[in-house]
């Protein structure tokens, strides 16, 4: 049985987890950190992902991509008003956002795939086996395009995505497994970029989602922006610097705002400090928790409406919720906790690390799919109503929101003109009356035999699978013939595009590995050159001229090799230098030892 891993592909951070026996575990990286910042940097020396990429946010903002999850499955129109916050250029092609880095463009799934690959490598190094299958989590309120984009990202990264799981439901799995909870729980999930509320009934291992709601454009990022805007305004008022004048500092401002917000979850006040450009000195101000709360109060308030709607859809009063679980880094804010407690009238739980609980739950779901865990079953719902456009541009709902998935609906179609050979079908997702106000999911043409108007009867089956993704099939009722329908997504990559991106990603992977090896070799070469120079300064007088010449020659050859792209050549020259300096190192060691011993009594020696 192949192993299936669980991945939390977050706006700010991503994690990968697996099931060890009956306990889910998050896989740490080399430095013991479980979080991989969802940041990708395209540096001159190659691609960087995670912590090393995060350093480039400040150094290299226009080539460093963060919060790419906000763009998944979206077009430019969906991001109006937000574009100014991103330092890289965005445009649209085929309804999909493209990110311009230098002379190359990348789709959001491609960038997400780079993060997924990093996680995959991490798991492969840790588990010592190839990883090919995964469960990936998405915000519960993600629509069809966003889910599809996430699946595409997995494919591009070389992962078969066996299931797309909703983040709050995944969290409930981890939580339910650990606590053996029964009853009604509410999962309040405020992440880096998205907000979800899910209400579940837990009974004898069944996790039945009763209702879910949310906002895919509300998260910790927005809180950071409020603080960042305050800083920018004060910098402008006090130093006369406009944001356009110092684009490179924008990332420092954003990161400092985020850090201040995080500190204020523990402290009552904190100091914000930004090094200003153009010799304007340093901007400093104190920010108190009260001030932060005043700045972000309305954002927290925006989460309450969805909570009430979810309760209403579940047919429950707040007092009927047995337990409230907090998920997502932003729920560490005392204001959020207070407001949640107020709404539900009980102290929310946060025993499991809110950064890790979703990945842990994804690992549990992965284990269920691989046949390991058999006593738990998740019955999730579709977050948004699915419908089709009818005469007059009105939406006719086929599957209502909060319907348990898999869910299906059948609709009979016929013609209204003699000899008509096709019927246009426009599939929509959303809660609004008019088609134009809802999200266009797909358009397709139903083929109909040429007959008098009203005679053809084609039954179309709309099926939302366990991933929350739409599948469409059609059957001619008269002939029983099944028609395969190619649903062209209104805002998504085509199959051909995904195919091409998979191929490209293999090329990237080869390039990436080469680039990484080159960077490592160069870094090491640099270190050895520095060390040798230092050794010369300390002990150059202790060795002969011939030896000095030999070392200098080997150093020269190393420096020449460093400017090439051949990491093996660099490695070989490094070895040469090490050999040439072997004697010098010994001499130095001796002399250091002598120095250390001079003027000391034996008893003082260690």
């Amino acid at each position: 049985m192949t192993r299936i891993v669980g991945i939390d592909l977050g706006t700010t951070n991503s994690l990968i987890a697996y099931m060890e026996g009956d306990t889910p575990r998050v896989i740490p990286g080399r430095h013991g950190r479980t979080l991989v910042p969802s940041v990708v940097a395209m540096t001159d020396n190659g691609l960087l992902v995670g912590d090393p990429a995060k350093e480039h946010l400040v150094r290299n903002p226009e080539r460093t991509i963060y919060s790419v999850k906000r763009f998944m499955g979206k077009g430019l129109a969906d991001l109006a008003g937000e574009l100014k916050y991103f330092p890289y250029k965005l445009h649209e092609q085929g309804g999909v956002i493209r990110i311009q880095i230098g002379d190359k463009t990348y789709s959001p799934p491609q960038i997400s795939a780079m993060i997924l690959k990093e996680l995959k490598l991490r798991a492969e190094a840790h588990l010592g086996e190839e990883i090919r299958k995964a469960v990936i989590t998405v915000p519960a309120y993600f629509n069809d395009s966003q889910r599809q984009a996430t699946k595409d990202a997995g494919l591009i990264a070389g992962l078969e995505v066996l299931r797309i799981v909703n983040e709050p439901t995944a969290a409930s799995l981890a939580y339910g497994l650990q606590k053996r909870t029964q009853g009604i729980i509410a999962v309040y999930d405020l992440g880096g970029g998205t907000f979800d509320i899910s209400i579940l009934k837990l009974k004898n291992g069944i996790f039945e989602v009763l209702a879910t709601n949310g906002n895919t454009h509300l998260g910790g990022d927005d809180f950071d922006r409020r603080v960042a805007n305050l800083i920018l305004k004060e910098v402008r008022d006090q130093y006369g610097l406009d944001r356009e004048q110092y684009p490179d500092t924008m990332q420092s401002v954003r990161l400092e705002a985020e850090r201040a917000k995080i500190r204020l979850s523990d402290d009552q006040k904190t100091t914000i400090a930004i090094e200003l450009p153009a010799r304007k000195g340093e901007y400093r101000r104190e920010l108190t928790r009260d001030q932060l709360e005043a700045l972000t109060m309305d954002l927290v308030e925006q989460t309450i409406g969805p909570c009430r709607l979810a309760l209403k859809d579940a047919g429950l009063q707040p007092s009927e919720i047995d337990e409230v679980v907090l998920v997502g880094g932003a729920t560490r804010m005392p204001l959020v906790r207070r407001r949640v407690q107020e709404l539900f009238g009980k102290v929310p739980h946060s025993e499991i690390n809110p950064d890790e609980v979703v990945a842990l739950g994804a690992a549990v779901q992965a284990d269920i799919l691989s046949g390991g865990t058999q006593d738990m079953l998740l019955l999730d719902v579709t977050p948004l109503s699915l419908g089709i456009e009818t005469m007059g541009g009105v939406t006719s709902t086929l599957i209502r929101r909060n319907t348990t998935i898999p869910a299906s609906a059948k609709e009979m179609f016929t013609t209204y003109v003699d000899g008509q050979t096709s019927v246009d079908i426009h599939v929509l997702q959303g809660e609004r009356e008019l088609a134009k106000d809802n999200r266009s999911l797909a358009r397709f043409q139903l083929r109909v035999p040429p007959l008098p108007a009203g005679v053809p009867r084609v039954e179309v089956m709309f099926l939302i699978d366990a991933n929350g993704i739409l599948n469409v099939s059609a059957k001619d009722v008269r002939t029983g013939q099944i028609q395969s329908i190619e649903v062209k997504p209104s805002s998504g990559l085509t199959d051909e595009e995904v195919e091409r991106m998979i191929t490209e990603s293999f090329k990237f992977a080869a390039d990436d590995l080469k680039a990484r090896q080159l960077i490592e070799a160069r870094t090491e070469a640099e270190a050895i050159v520095k060390a040798t120079e230092k050794a010369f300064a300390l002990g150059g007088h202790l060795i002969g001229a011939e030896e000095t010449a030999l070392i200098k020659a080997s150093l020269g050859r190393l420096q020449t090799a460093t400017s090439s792209d051949d990491h093996r050549g660099i490695r070989a020259r490094i070895a040469d230098v090490e050999k040439a300096t072997h004697h010098l190192a010994e001499v130095l060691m001796d002399s250091t030892l002598k120095e250390a011993l001079q003027g000391k009594k034996l008893s003082e020696l260690p």
Binding site: L378, T404, P406, A466
Partner: protein
């Protein structure tokens, strides 16, 4: 584009689709898994939701039993447990789960349950009402005028008049909501009476007449209720 809602399956076809295992061709008698080869079997599309969930065809049902059966069948059919199986089995699992979810959703809610049962018994679920129920005709007409005026009011409208309008609409809304409650009470009575009628061993002419009258009344109430609910929703959306 024209759509017609699908008609309920013909009762005579019941069980026909599942008399033979799709995989090993051995006989199956309504089991969800073939006795011979243990492959999952597609739930017949003609199977009514009550039978599917192991309940008598009644209007008052045991909700605990319904949930228990739903959970049991979910554990049997859910695609999660078919990940390592063949494509055919995965497709059956998906179809069965979708049908099961629809069945559960329909029976869980008393109104949907009644609409479904009427559809099974008498063909169509309910007439989509386009005119107000007779006993509320005058009131609803007046109310809709008020609602229209409220909606088209410009910001500079006389605030006293607007307040009057708002108060009147509030009173109207309360009347409608009260009427809705009455309908629900009457429905509950009818549900009990209907179920009692089902328990009679041999339906005579008298029973058949009672049955038809009940179906007619339930259908009438259900369509009036939908009509009222739409108006109330509209009022809530307009006046807040």
């Amino acid at each position: 584009m024209d759509q017609t809602h699908n008609m309920p399956g013909k009762r005579t076809e019941l069980q026909m689709a599942r008399s033979m295992c799709w995989h090993c061709q051995s006989e199956v008698h309504g089991e969800y898994f073939c006795v011979q080869c243990v492959k999952v079997q597609p739930v017949s599309k003609e199977l009514d939701y009550f039978t599917c969930l192991g309940l008598p065809r009644l209007l008052n049902i045991d909700l605990g039993a319904l949930e228990a059966k739903f959970y049991e069948l979910s554990r049997a059919f859910h695609p999660d447990f078919f990940q390592n199986k063949s494509e055919s089995e995965q497709a059956i699992s998906l179809g069965n789960s979708a049908l099961l979810n629809t069945a559960y959703r329909t029976l869980k809610d008393p109104i949907r349950r009644a609409e479904y049962l009427i559809q099974l018994e008498a063909g169509s679920a309910k007439d989509i009402r386009t005119s107000p129920p007779a006993d509320l005709f005058e009131e609803i007409l007046a109310l809709q005028e008020d609602l229209e005026e409220f909606r088209s009011a410009s910001p500079g409208q006389n605030p006293v008049h607007m307040e009057e309008l708002r108060t009147r609409l509030k009173v109207d809304r309360e009347t409608l909501e009260r009427r809705q409650l009455e309908m629900e009470h009457r429905l509950a009575e009818l549900f009990t009476a209907w179920d009692k009628l089902q328990s009679r061993k041999q339906p005579d002419d008298q029973a058949r007449r009672e049955r038809d009258a009940m179906l007619k009344e339930m259908r009438e109430i259900l369509s009036n209720r939908t009509y009222l609910r739409n108006i109330v929703n509209d009022m809530v959306a307009t006046t807040g």
